[in-house]
């Protein structure tokens, strides 16, 4: 049996930062990831990380206020204060670890502007910020000697007496199931973007941690808050960073008009993401688009800026559209991108299940509320990752180890055998996944209405029934990716159901949740978080007040 004080599930930014913190606190730490750490989806973050550095004349309170406003007042203000107050330290720490942040002519860290913020406070590494951070944290992980279970897939949490005591995981290479026990488990499994089709998220982003926690009895929160990013490629959903607009790019409709003038006269293209996505969708819906898209025009930035600061997206445009950004505008449209919602945690990453912690996109602290500001998520992963690492190490120390029955493994073995034994006639994991992705993207997206959301809910229920009957062709043990997809689909269906439940329960429009049938924000009744609990008969909704410190809700204008 494998035993550790702290077991971190997920080796993206949040997971690695948590593991490093727990290790520093003296715990015996292991990190487990279904892919090699540097394959994690944090890689894909392009634009940057926010921080208000005081020695640059910036003020964390401004950052906090803009985050609150961006969240459409659904963010918890105590958590947001922690986030923005700790940001400067976090960015400097990353720099010291080795992240090659871009600099100004004075050799100090340079910034660019991002959406929803008046000031340039986004620190960046060209347009590969996530990759640069992820690889540097991985370097630190190698240095630390933390145990790494690489390409191990967590299939379930070990729950005893209402406490989380470890995980059962599948070593993908051998197909062996193993029990790993630890008094504290940190879930840092990232988002759940693949529930949607298309999505900017990688194929591995399947909401595993959310589903695991949900099943273990921890509530999910604000699951209806699904962010659509304003600039994604139509054909495969790949993201074009907000930095393109931060550097000065324009959005044009089919008539060549900079339409954001109309919707956000002061901040234009750099209004909050929900605002920009809705504006684009309106242009498209009202017939001023181009083949279901609008245009992103960067030509005026010049080759130099494009090739140094936006090199990766230029590569993407060349690879997938055959267009150089310096030469022509590219068609883009809103696409599913990020989960504001997730496993409900306190500001130390603790979920409501003892021994179970969460951080990163999988968690909901909540700092993003109903709409996340660009470049606040990377910040979230390192700030709250570290806090979860600290807290879990302290918890583990206090509780100590308990013996856990090997029966958990036998149960999982039986379950997996069951999946492999099911028939593959007619139906398939891929078909169910595609139907799920489409129904979610059609109905719980930029604009929503009751009927559509109901349709999504019933479809997901039907798909769950089909899922329970479908098997996989591959019966082998070694690197059985067919089996992994099947398990991931199970997770996604559970999470999709909570998204639909949250969306139907929130009878107002707020942030990313824009209902055409209820277009107004309703602070009197819905300035509160939706908690989703699992019950035998399906998701149950409960409400939780929003924590407010200094900022009262106001009308949101950009």
């Amino acid at each position: 049996m494998l035993q550790h004080d702290v077991l971190v599930v997920g080796a993206g930014l949040a997971g690695m930062r948590a593991a490093l913190a727990a290790k520093q606190a003296g715990a015996n730490v292991a990190i487990i990831s279904k892919v090699t750490p540097v394959r994690s989806h944090s890689n894909a973050a392009q634009g940057g990380i926010n921080a208000a550095l005081t020695d640059r004349g910036d003020d964390w309170k401004e950052h906090a206020y803009e985050t609150v406003k961006g969240s459409d007042y659904l963010g918890d203000q105590d958590a947001i204060e922690i986030l923005s107050q700790d940001a400067g330290r976090a960015v400097i720490e990353l720099e010291h670890m080795g992240v090659v942040f871009s600099r100004g002519p004075d050799g100090l860290l340079g910034t660019r502007r991002f959406g929803g913020q008046q000031r340039a406070r986004t620190f960046f590494v060209a347009d590969i910020t996530g990759q640069a951070m992820l690889h540097v944290l991985f370097e630190q992980l190698l240095k630390s000697g933390i145990t790494l279970y690489e390409e191990w897939f967590v299939t379930s949490l070990v729950m005893e007496d209402g406490q989380c005591r470890g995980v059962v995981a599948l070593e993908i290479k051998s197909g062996k199931l193993e029990l790993i026990t630890s008094p504290a488990v940190v879930l840092a499994t990232g988002g759940c973007g693949r529930i949607y089709e298309p999505s900017t998220n990688g194929l591995i982003v399947t909401g595993d941690g959310m589903a695991l926690a949900y099943k273990a009895g921890a509530p999910l929160m604000d699951m209806e808050m699904v962010q659509y990013h304003p600039t994604t490629l139509k054909q495969n959903g790949i993201l074009i960073t907000e930095a393109a607009r931060g550097e000065g790019g324009y959005l044009l409709n089919g008539k060549g008009e900079r339409f954001m003038d109309k919707y956000a006269p002061s901040m234009k293209e750099l209004a909050s993401r929900d605002v920009v996505s809705r504006s684009e969708q309106t242009e498209i819906n009202e017939g001023r688009g181009v083949n279901g898209c609008v245009l992103l025009d960067l030509r005026h930035l010049g080759r130099q800026v494009i090739e140094t600061k936006l090199a990766y997206i230029n590569e993407v445009a060349l690879d997938y559209l055959g267009i150089s950004l310096a030469e022509a505008p590219i068609p883009i449209r809103p696409g599913m991108h990020y989960m504001m919602g997730g496993i409900k945690t306190d500001v130390h990453g603790a979920t409501r299940v003892p021994g179970l912690y969460a951080a990163g996109e999988t968690a909901c602290v909540s700092v993003h509320g109903a709409n996340r500001l660009g470049a606040n998520s990377l910040l979230d992963t390192v700030v709250f990752g570290r806090r979860a690492g600290d807290a879990s190490a302290a918890y583990a120390k206090e509780r100590g180890h308990k013996n856990v029955s090997e029966a958990f493994v036998a149960d999982e073995e039986a379950r997996i055998k069951g999946i492999l034994a099911r028939s593959t006639d007619g139906d398939s994991v891929a078909k169910i996944r595609l139907e799920m992705g489409q129904v979610m993207n059609d109905n719980i997206s930029v604009f929503r209405h009751e009927e559509g959301m109901k349709k999504a809910q019933t479809t997901i229920r039907r798909l769950k029934e089909r899922y329970a009957r479908v098997g996989v062709q591959n019966k082998g043990k070694v690197f059985n990716t067919g089996l992994i997809f099947s398990l991931e689909l199970g997770y996604m269906l559970d999470v999709a159901e909570t998204i639909a439940a949250g969306a139907l329960a929130r009878k107002e429009s707020r942030g990313a949740h824009a209902r055409v049938d209820m277009p107004d924000r309703d602070d009197a009744n819905f300035l509160k978080h939706a908690l989703v609990f699992r019950t035998e008969s399906g998701p149950r909704i409960d409400w939780l007040p929003v924590t407010m410190t200094q900022w009262q809700p106001q009308k949101r204008v950009y």
Binding site: V35, R39, R103, A126, L142, I204, D319, S428, Q473
Partner: protein, 323 residues
């Protein structure tokens, strides 16, 4: 568009004689598909037993390196249309130089061991500043080019030296090594260069350009290795045969405008390194007999004074550029 993916498969759980085989998958894919899109289509709708790694579909996670039509590439960066051979066939195999686990999935343990070998973390010297390190943006920009490496393994797959010498640290790890040597914040450049100067290190690369050609991110590992060589010599590591060969080569060109293989050999091994020189003797004797010996002394080219002037100016310019 109808295409055939000719996939080299491997299943370690099958009986010995049926473990590896080649399988043709005919699929109908949109014109702008990548090889990865097509493989995913196979995996989802034809045969889910086909194992491969992939995630981002945007050439950033480094999961999907494989050999496409004989050369290492990212599946998600390889457009089907550009690759179609006779009868619309595209050949897909796992990467080379790494053991296959199943189908297109290779074991990258050794890859990571070699990354570890170069001490891949920043080692600043002196006390940490309170704020950020002050560093020129150009230096950081330059590093971004190397940090662009996504650790996909394509360069390692096609490295010609790794094919015959497992001891070689290899292109990806050495590019990573360069990233620290070139980082103005790192305080251990010299120790690092000493480490990379050892056998299996920077001098073992044959400059074959395979890694430059296949790297999907423009990291150009070979160029980084060459930069490490130059810096190693600069830092005083001049004892290796590689360093001596490079110096002997340069002085031959400086002296005569051309290279003289005999003097290269003698200068590389040293006039009194009898074992090495004798080792080359069978060749020398046979070559002499065949009237193939290069002349021992060779005349400088016409206009050698000009060559030398250029030589010195370029050397000075480089020195000046480095400060």
């Amino acid at each position: 568009m109808q295409i055939t993916l000719r996939v080299k498969r491997y299943n370690p759980e099958a009986p010995e004689e049926r473990r590896s085989w080649t399988q043709d998958y005919k699929v109908d894919v949109p014109e702008d598909s990548t090889v990865l899109d097509s493989l995913i289509q196979v995996r989802e709708y034809v045969d889910d037993s086909l194992s491969l790694r992939c995630s981002c579909r945007g050439a950033i996670c480094g999961s999907c390196a494989m050999r496409v039509n004989g050369h290492a590439a990212l599946g998600c960066k390889s457009k089907v249309q550009k690759l179609l051979g006779k009868d619309n066939v595209i050949a897909v195999e796992p990467m080379g130089n790494q053991p296959v686990i199943k189908d297109l999935v290779v074991d990258m343990t050794v890859f990571w061991d070699k990354i570890r070998q170069v001490q891949p973390w920043l080692q600043p010297q002196g006390p940490e500043p309170e704020a950020e390190y002050v560093a020129p943006n150009e230096a950081m920009q330059h590093l971004v080019g190397v940090m662009g490496c996504i650790m996909c393994g394509a360069c390692v797959s096609d490295c010609t030296v790794l094919e015959v010498d497992k001891n070689f640290i290899g292109p990806a790890a050495l590019a990573k090594a360069y990233r620290f040597v070139a980082d103005p914040r790192d305080g251990h450049a010299k120790d690092r260069l000493g480490l990379y100067n050892k056998a299996g290190g920077i001098w073992d690369c044959t400059r074959c350009f395979e890694c430059v050609q296949v790297c999907p991110k423009g990291v150009a590992p070979m160029d980084r290795i060459m930069a490490l060589r130059d810096q190693a010599i600069d830092a005083g590591f001049i004892g290796s045969y590689g360093a001596r060969h490079a110096e002997a080569f340069a002085s031959s060109v400086e002296h005569s405008g051309t290279v003289n293989e005999m003097s290269l050999v003698v200068n590389t091994f040293g006039m009194f390194n009898l074992p090495k020189l004798l080792g080359l003797l069978p060749l020398a004797i046979r070559a002499g007999y065949k009237r193939k010996m290069p002349p021992l002394f060779h005349k400088p080219v016409e206009g050698i004074a000009g060559v030398r002037r250029i030589f010195h100016k370029a050397e000075e310019q480089q020195k000046a550029a480095r400060g």
